[in-house]
Amino acid sequence: MRVWLSGALVLLLGMAGSPPAKEPAVPASIQEVKAKHAPALMQLPGVVSVGIGRGPDGRPAIVVGLDRERPETLEQLPRSLDGHPVLSEVVGQPRAQ
């Protein structure tokens, strides 16, 4: 009974928190989300690239490339953006070869 009640509460809160009128008909594609957030991500210290790759689970992810280990930048990176996972990797400074 208690489980059912708390479940119903979560459901109600969830509905209250996201008015259906403002929900987009189609969720933004990972390309759109990446395009929207790339300029801000590229401004973070040590970020040298932002692209679309795959996570360890094989699902598409937004991948942020760092020039070296950057704990302070990692703290500022969101875990996900608009429902798409955000990963990071140290790629080093890219140079023209």
Binding site: S49, G53, E89, G92, R95, Q97
Partner: protein
Amino acid sequence: MAHDIQTVRGVLKQTHRRLLDRAQVVATGVGIKVTAGKPTGELSIVCSVTRKRPLAELTERDRVPASLDGIATDVVETGVLRSLQSRTARHRPAPGGVSIGHRDITAGTLGCLVKRNGEVVILSNNHVLANSNAATRGDPILQPGPHDGGTLANDRIADLLDFVTINFIDSPSDCAIGNAAAGMLNAVAGMIGSGTRLRAVRPQAGENRVDAAVARPLNPVDVSPDILEVGRIQGMTSGTLGMAIKKSGRTTGFTQGAISQIDVTANVQYGPGQIAQFTDQLLAGPMSQGGDSGSAVFDNDNRLVGLLFAGSDNTTIINRIEHVFAELGLTL
């Protein structure tokens, strides 16, 4: 019967073309005949073959006769002969994958041959053929590049035909009014004690999608449509996530990898403090080093996918070939 070397050479000279016509025979020469692993001491005509096969499997025409004009033959297995000529050497005709460069740079890679207005041209990077915007159309292109010993007097293979300008971030402005305005504002800021200074910068005039240039060979017979260790181009395709790719470059030769990211925005360093931002790039794992810039990138079916231009210890960054072709007006 012992023969002197002049006799054997004379017979070889008369017969080597017929011998090389046989399937499997890749080289002929004069050498001591070896039987059952031991040198016999007898001079013979040696035929190198890709693979030794039982006589029964060979047609009459493809068999190497036991003797020619009384001279014994010997058949040795050498496998397929490959050119050991270095990629940094002078090549005529020059295939894709060898050293090339504008006369004022070090060296990069000759990517491949493409067409512009029906004319065969060499494709590589702007920073290889056009010295990162600093060159003028018509400038000499050397093969090998200057770092590999190419000289203007002997190794000019082509002239710079065209390039896509690279927009660098924070390029110091060449706008006199902007600089003067910044100077005045900075003087004011200095007077009121502000530590902040303004600098007139040219806003990025559009995004960079390619680091690409083309050069027109002085003589069409000086270039080859082959790509070293890859072969011929078999069309074009769009790079996708996970696609297996390969390239042939001046420094690391033939390497393979896979596209690990698409739609990549990346800041690439060209020199101290010189950064350019590229969008819609392909990213792969490490498959290149300095000097490989300009390498053409292919899928497993030899379809052209991209133009390699940058990388780090862990990554390789590649322009999409569709952007390269669109911005320079190229066809295959």
